[in-house]
Amino acid sequence: MRELLQLAWDALLFKHEAYAQHVACADVLKRGLTLLVLVTLLAGVVSLIVNVVGDLRPMSAEAQRREAEEGIQEFTEYVDTMRQFFDVPPDFEEQMIAYMQAGMGIGFGIEALPTRLPKPVGRVLHDLGAFLSLPFRRLAGWIGYGIWVLLVVKLLGGRATASQMLGATTLYAVPHVLDILGFVPCLGGMLGLVAIVWGIAIYVKALAVANEFSIGRATIATVAPALVGGALALMGLLVLFILALVGSG
């Protein structure tokens, strides 16, 4: 564990030897994944505690209903403001309120239904499931992008094996420990942005070390899949736009 913490710290500081030693390890991917999972769970632990505490002290149905009614009230005020700028149909507000109240009724109706195990058990299991899903969400994003980077790296003459390359790039997750403060208004968002940029820089460094690339080449390998994906998406939109024009003409 101490070794992993040291690796995480050195990765944050871009220490070349730490990256090189990590890539040279026989179990580079196992170590990297352990770090990624631990960091992601650590970042989500505050949210888990807040959610579990909140769920174990549930609001009364009356308080929940009051809160929902306040939400509808806020919506009507918003619609009233919009009336100054847009032509809102006269019965729009009334209809929307009716739909919201029906939706609320469905929600409260289901909430009031009995379950086989006590309700708090279900709520805690729900929170735990969401918490344990966090590493899988991060893994899906990392591996989904990683295979394209792996392809570009190989085309650029990279020498690392798949496990070395993926194991090295798991280090990108380390700065995301800052997400632990994600619940703090404004600061949380800013720290999240810092973690993203820091993570990308670590990704580039890890690729460079694993494949003995220059930083420039590693940067190209990192951004190329995103650029190609963006270009393809733009082309797709353009084709749709042209088709729509042709169809309307």
Partner: protein
């Protein structure tokens, strides 16, 4: 035996080439591979059943939910507008019951019977996919200069079942694994074919992806064939 198979799958999960080499050199790799697939699939299905049971025990009865949703819908303005139409109510009830048979399962409502059935269906499904993929991948690998035998290919590609181990986490209800297993399986297959047939990375990549392309083409072909047949049958009937 079981312990050795689980160790192989665990090592293969981390894209190590060692388990592929061990599988390739073993006396009966295809049979060992089949054993591994069945073992992993049954374990995953059993664990999934436990998770589903927990989810079922913490979810209200589906029939009660159906009633609650129907009551809510009946309060909505569009329903109140249409309910005066004589045929609407009957047709709506019919459609609503039909949707309720399809959508809850689609959106993952806990179903213990289906989860229990997976103990049989998952090993069958994974074994069938493994066999078909292994067969086609072997063909492409050999065409691309691979040196492994069919048994060796099947043994090594069976190790690509390893990412299914991630599904063991579904013992926790409400946990979402997402698309990570599919992508990871692809990577495991690449490592398996590269190691088994001693291919370069480019050829191994081609041998890994070409079976997917072949299956996609086959499915498209049959879809087109089906469309043409349907058009001929119904078009002919209209005339």
């Amino acid at each position: 035996m079981m312990k050795a198979l689980i160790r192989l799958a665990w090592e293969a999960l981390f894209l190590s080439e060692a388990p592929c080499v061990e599988m390739r050199e073993s006396s009966n790799p295809a049979l060992r591979g089949l054993g591994l697939i069945v073992l992993v699939a049954v374990a995953v299905a059993l664990v999934g059943l436990a998770g589903t049971a927990l989810e079922w025990a913490t979810t209200p009865n589906m029939r009660d939910i159906q009633e609650a949703v129907l009551e809510g819908i009946q309060q909505m303005p569009w329903y109140q507008e249409l309910q005066s139409t004589p045929e609407f109510r009957g047709r709506f009830q019919q459609q609503y019951k039909l949707w309720w048979r399809i959508f809850p399962r689609m959106f993952g409502a806990p179903d213990i019977a289906s989860a229990a059935l997976r103990i049989i269906l998952l090993p069958l499904g994974l074994a069938l996919t493994w066999f078909l993929y292994g067969l086609v991948a072997h063909l492409f690998a050999r065409l691309l200069g691979g040196q492994g035998g069919l048994g060796q290919t099947l043994g090594c590609t069976a190790l690509a079942v390893a990412p299914q181990l991630l599904n063991m986490a579904t013992v926790f209800p409400y946990l979402v694994i997402g698309g990570v297993v599919g992508t990871w399986t692809l990577l495991c297959r690449y490592v398996a074919l590269k190691t088994c047939h001693r291919l370069t990375w480019g050829r191994a990549l081609a041998a890994t992806l070409l079976p997917y392309v072949a299956f996609a083409l086959l499915v498209s072909f049959f879809a087109c064939l089906g469309s043409v047949a349907t058009a001929l049958i119904f078009g002919g009937g209209a005339q």
